[in-house]
Amino acid sequence: MRRTLPLLTLITVAAAACDSLFTSAPEDADVFDAPIPGLTDAEMEVFLAGDAAFEEPFSATTGLGPIFNDVACAACHSGDGRGRTSNALTRFSRGTDPARDIGGPQLQDRAINGAVPEQLPPGVDVSVRLPPPVFGVGLIEAIPVASILANVDSLDADADGISGRPSWVSAAEFVPADEVGGGAGPQLGRFSRKAQVSSVLQQTVEAYQQDMGITTDFLPVENINPQSGAATLARDRAPDPEVTASTVRAVVDYVRMLAPPAPGEATPVRTRGSDLFDQVGCDRCHVRQFRTGPSRIAALADQDVVLYSDLLLHDMGDALADNRPDGDANGREWRTTPLWGLRLAREFLNGDLFLLHDGRATTIAEAIAFHGGEAAQVRAAFDALSADDRAALIDFVASR
């Protein structure tokens, strides 16, 4: 033992020094870009390919633009998490009309050299949207429709003031019926700020086209600036489609396989905050947990999904209303935002925290204060708590 102890000490010190000298990998639980546990080797290979494509920035020579918002998926989603207000997207439309004839539904305020970026047309409905985190979407996709619908209370039958309703949308034509949310007829919208998108494939393909100006096998036609005529399109000399279906599929599978980060450690204060979370009624919309059903990625099947969202639409009141319908949601409704990953959000945003759909809130307390509409009673209950209790509840939410 006398010999072993110094040896063990030496090994421990050497290992610590080695990590310091040669860097160490962050824990999977502390990042937004870790794979879910239990993937097969073949799935890991797809994950890595998708990761590379997600990170890949485009230039004018590789197809960027002609008009665009940013150069890579990773350029908006910091560390695969949420974005900053500086890369928020401006969505616009005329009522339920996406206003494609004047450049809708998204403002591309950048353009490759020689092309003309869009300017916001007058008289349109506008909504600023922060890029959301992309981890955990595979788990959300694997939640059975029936599980989500079980929380629907469109007519507020229980008279608690909260009436979550599903977002029924049409999938894009390129989304096949064997994709979750794909095919003809109404599909349950689960993704994006107003649950206006029903499939991960659609979200990804439209982000390529709208955010980066990248054509794909699914949407092979460039998004052009109708305000500038032919000049803008002529500047994009990369042949279409600029990205193949297999690359898009790899990115789709990559985000599907991204694990949500683990919550922070339990403390007595957080345990109290957790109880208060339920007590004041936060959990009526920020539903703690679902369970996934079957999935073609085995590691996603039959898993608990601790996301703190019911994935339904709620009237959030005047302060948060953007007065711009999107999909099935009206101008006052938003999908309940999952709270997972909040623990690490600041780390990937240079110490800042941007909350709510447009990043206007920089603290959790501020975000709560903006809750109105169906959440007004719950916010009032939160306001009625003692300062210590409010701090405990906020600490719990911040540790998710």
């Binding site: 000298l21 890949e56 485009f58 050299n113």
Partner: protein, 387 residues
Amino acid sequence: MKHVWLAALVTTVAIPGTLAAQQDTVPDRPFVRGGVYDRPFLFELLGRAAFGGYAEFHTRWAREDGINEFTFVPKRFNLFTAAQVSDFVRFSAELEFEEGTEEILLEFAAIDLTIHRAFAFRAGMLLSPIGRFNLAHDSPLNEFTDRPLVSTEIFGVALSEPGLGALGAFPVGRSGRFTYEAYLVNGFSDALITNSPEGTRIPLGRQNFEDNNSAPSFVGRVAWSPSLALELGLSAHHGPYNQFSADGVSLDDRRNVSLYVVDLDAAVAGFRLSGEGGLGRISIPAALSGINAGRQSGFYVDVVRDFGRGWIPTMPVAFFSAGLRVDIIDFDTQIPGDDKRQITLGANFRPTNETVFKFNYVRGRTTDRFNNAAQFAKLLFSAATYF
């Protein structure tokens, strides 16, 4: 732009004209230490031509945030040739094969017409005098395996451009010297933004072998050396990078890229000290603001000390060196993040001056445009020799 042309004209014509009449008391020393006419192995073949070169091989182990990468790299194989064609005319060239044959580049091929020590006319494929390192960067000469970040990532070393101009040296005081180089060159192309998915990357605008905008750029360097132990240099590169007109029709605003570099080479108390610092300013279209940087900067400092000469009885001229380098570059000075900083510790063994075996430990940190940091470390072993 007019003042730049005027400066070039004054530099290339007026100063040498004045100096030609001065006494030439400059000691016999190379125009640039380690530069194209200061290479140790240029074998005379038949007649006037000489031939030589250098080769460099790397072993690289790198780790970023705990992820390892290892590879051997046949880094460079460079061939030199030079000829003193007549008393007044000389020619030198360098052909580089990088990483096997991944990049083959005519790095230098220039004719010098030397009218006086203070005035020579040079034309051809030039090594742009943008910082001292671009003029003298042979691997057997360098004390570290990797080239300085600011040189490679901001200035684009090795920066070769077709052009013409003048160079010369003249004495200052008893042992001092002033040198200049001033050229008109093709300059950079708009590939520095159009081929550059990670934001502005000036090196991607190199290899503009046929001027994309029919408007030459200016590059020049002046250096003052009060003694053999010290040289201070200032250099600049300025000109348009985009195609702003064609067939007499205006296509775009004229957009310039400007580089300003200060360099130092000194020997102090047994230490060799060298470094460069610089700034890049790039005129970016408004539609690319927030994506492409309009301002970049960086610097490096090397401190090296030789020791152990004569320690190996069978190799009496062999010696060792220990060195430290600090590198900092900022790809976009207008945002937090998008930068890289590293320190390099080096230990070298030179059996002779012409051959070096280098072992480096590099530790650094890089940040993306969100200012998310990644830590990295490298162990590098390389061998390089002139032949």
